[in-house]
Symmetry: C2
Subunit: 467 residues, 2 copies
């Protein structure tokens, strides 16, 4: 019999049974107790260590459950063969493993991609997270529907109907881990042999995705109402990618007539579709919300894509695709077997978040918050004099400044940098083709900045830019 | 001034400020208080309702934050224009919205895809979840690295090195929401113009994926050591998809010599690669774990894919790809901009789960649990007589029964069904080509069944099958 002398420390946070378990495990791993050796009985060890018997029993139970020891009836506990057991040593980290981004940090950053994360409803999310992990335990961890859980799709369908005028059944919805993923999926559903047209400037991530997934892509000019449909027709494309509620980055809202024109273009050929990306349509500060194009579609031509990344947080990887009936069958055949990319726990949290009214409240709060930042930025900019015109007001989370004084984008960005303010040029949103060189356009995003910071930053821009 | 008569219910669970907030919100929505109307001062309303002033202030604060009212200094609170506000009504669900699956439920189901979900470490997961949602709040909700957070990739790299003999830096790892997604991504990285060879029978989900994503696919015969390399050579494929540690569904372990042959095949041409799917390699019950093929690869020919779905739970959508250096650049160019599909909160939970030693303990527990179920099933089956041979023992979570008595798969499945036991035929794992019709093979998965259930179920199978 092996005698174990364990130096127990009752004053530490680690429970006694854990200390005993840990000690014996280590001895077994190091080979100091060989496999086949018999451990002391629980009674003997408890007397030897001067602890309760149940403490020893608990330790032995752990060792048994993990396979370090085995129990032979009437004989006792014996050390197992441990070669099959896992042993993963923890490497200690020296501080936070921050990746060197190489990017300078600015005191004031007018990024157009910002989301105010301080407003994220942590307490609610945590509460719902806890509830979800308690409910229906085993079921939630089983593989769910590839399209996402029906309960969540119900909640999304309901929300889309009321808030966006999107008409669909839960069955048409596919929940996925982000827009990029859903667009990859869409490419797989649509197949090859298509040509995708995007506006210019546009959401370049989408352009890159279609281009890199070997789809033919092109850009089609816009006017102040959005994509020019005659040009679209001329381009020979069969898929149009648009953001009619709030074009990114220009902020253009596609009026009704243009939407109808676009729908008519799509109806001309069976293989034509419109991809409507409703990114950031949630934030309008004046007037009624603009309904989605999809709601006007009577012929199954519009593929609608939306996300919770902008309205909740980017790291919530939850977006959704609404497929028209005509494409649903193709999805089932080509991709219906691809498992869902969103954990069912996260789906349940989001479903509750929506159904219990938190999403509505959160949206309204964010809208009010962004609106007052928008108002502040606008009024501060107006004080700056006539060097530029402003566009993109009253919706989204950034404004555009159109300079007509001949100064280049690089120059304006550099001048701002010298004051520790980061601004963005419109040129990076263009795909390849030559821009209108008469004007220089600068983007100022305000989602991430408090009203105080906005005032200070605009003050610095005035110093930088005004002559 | 508008007088508000609210019927407050102090005895209910809803706080008084919430009741006041809810009432006023509803009145505003229904238009009973028009926009522009002035609300009572907080002092007046608190006196009128006989509640504390701070209760009314809290209610007004909520309404203000969501944009229902606005505050005009020295004048008071006024109802806003509400047309931009969200209003999402909750549809009540009548009971649980269970989808009609149309599938019969069996009392005993020997599914080979089972995972014992009762062992899922809920308490730990919930604890880590709570901790993750408290730590570094804003940062965690910002968009992270497309490959997944470095901390998690560190932990995975460490685990892979120690447990699987996989050699890689964290930079080679891409974390994704499930194997299906990562294989889609891989297809995008590899591009078109490839031919993928799989064994037969095989993991058909992979076959379907490659086939549907317009990749040329074919199958290559296996012998008792795995894929036959001369046949692979003859097939003209340039990508081989194998599961050398534990082939699914046959359980074949590819011995060293065959692995070397496979690696030599890949080295003959720059464009050739091996995809190693290490699914369910965690569970071996006899002997040392078999190291991954990737560990022997000196020429960057092996693409390694692994998952946490089998060892933790299917709904944990977290898998990882290890790209050889030669493909990493291509990934950056073609797909480097595609955002991560795993929420950073989930990544953090998993990282802690691994780093704090819980994963190791969980794996050992699952192994011990599955092993005893394996042992029980094996011993019960051996009592059943000589009608079949058994293969696939000592690893994975299912056994294969090879019947030589001429009875068909359908017949055996039907007989079992009559006893309310579900068993699985090997034929569904074959791709298209004619099988060896001499023998009928039935799969029995045991992950999901307690030892009691296993004994009962085998008893029923004996009644069903033994003549």
């Amino acid at each position: 019999m092996y005698e174990l002398t364990i130096n127990l420390k009752p004053e530490t946070k680690t429970p006694l049974y854990e200390q005993i378990y840990g000690y014996i495990k280590e001895e077994i791993r190091k080979g100091r107790i060989s496999s086949g050796e018999r451990l002391p009985s629980t009674r003997a060890l408890s007397r030897h260590l001067d602890v309760s018997r149940s403490t020893v029993e608990l330790a032995y139970e752990q060792l048994l459950s993990e396979g370090y020891i085995e129990s032979q009836p009437c004989k006792g506990y014996f050390v197992s063969q441990i070669e099959g057991l896992y042993r993963i040593e923890q490497h200690t980290h020296n501080g936070a493993p921050a990746e060197i981004s190489g990017r300078r940090k600015f005191s004031y950053d007018f990024t157009p991609n910002g989301v105010d994360l301080n407003s994220f409803p942590y307490n609610t999310w945590r509460k719902l997270s806890r509830e979800s992990l308690v409910e229906d335990r085993a079921e939630l961890f089983r593989l769910g529907s590839p399209q996402g859980d029906e309960g969540l799709r119900n909640a999304i369908s309901n929300y889309l109907h009321q808030a966006r005028g999107v008409e669909c059944t839960p069955g048409q919805i596919i929940v996925g881990a982000g827009n990029d993923y859903l667009m990859m999926l869409l490419c797989a559903v649509l197949g090859t042999g298509h040509k995708v047209a995007l506006e210019n400037p546009t959401y370049k991530q989408a352009y890159r995705l279609f281009a890199n997934l070997s789809r033919e892509v092109c850009t089609v000019d816009m006017d102040e109402k959005g994509m020019i449909v005659e040009e679209l027709e001329r381009s020979g494309s069969d898929i149009a990618f648009v953001m009619p509620s709030h074009q990114y980055p220009l902020g253009t809202v596609m009026p009704i007539r243009r939407r109808m024109e676009l729908l008519r273009w799509a109806e001309k050929d069976e293989g034509r579709y419109i991809i409507e990306d409703d990114y950031d349509s949630e934030f309008r500060y004046k007037g009624k919300p603009i309904p989605a194009l999809q709601g006007y579609d009577r012929n199954g031509k519009v593929i609608y894509i939306g996300t919770f990344s902008k309205s909740i947080a980017p790291a919530i990887r939850m977006s959704y695709l609404v497929l028209p009936g005509s494409l649903y069958q193709r999805y089932r055949e080509r991709c219906g077997f691809i498992s869902s990319t969103v954990s069912r726990v996260d789906q349940m949290i989001l479903q509750k978040f929506i159904e219990e009214g938190y999403y509505e409240r959160h949206l309204n709060k964010m809208r009010a918050l962004y609106r007052s930042r928008h108002d502040t930025l606008l009024s501060e900019l107006k004080k700056m004099g006539p060097d530029f015109d402003i566009s993109g007001e009253n919706a989204g989370v950034h404004l555009l400044l159109h300079f007509k004084d001949g100064r280049s984008e690089d120059e304006l960005i550099r001048l701002a940098e010298e004051k520790d303010v980061r601004v963005y040029g419109l040129s990076e949103y263009y795909v390849d083709c030559p821009r209108n060189t008469e004007e220089t356009v600068i983007l100022l995003g305000y989602a991430n900045m408090s009203e105080e910071k906005i005032k200070k930053a605009v003050g610095l821009l005035r110093e930088a830019w005004c002559r």
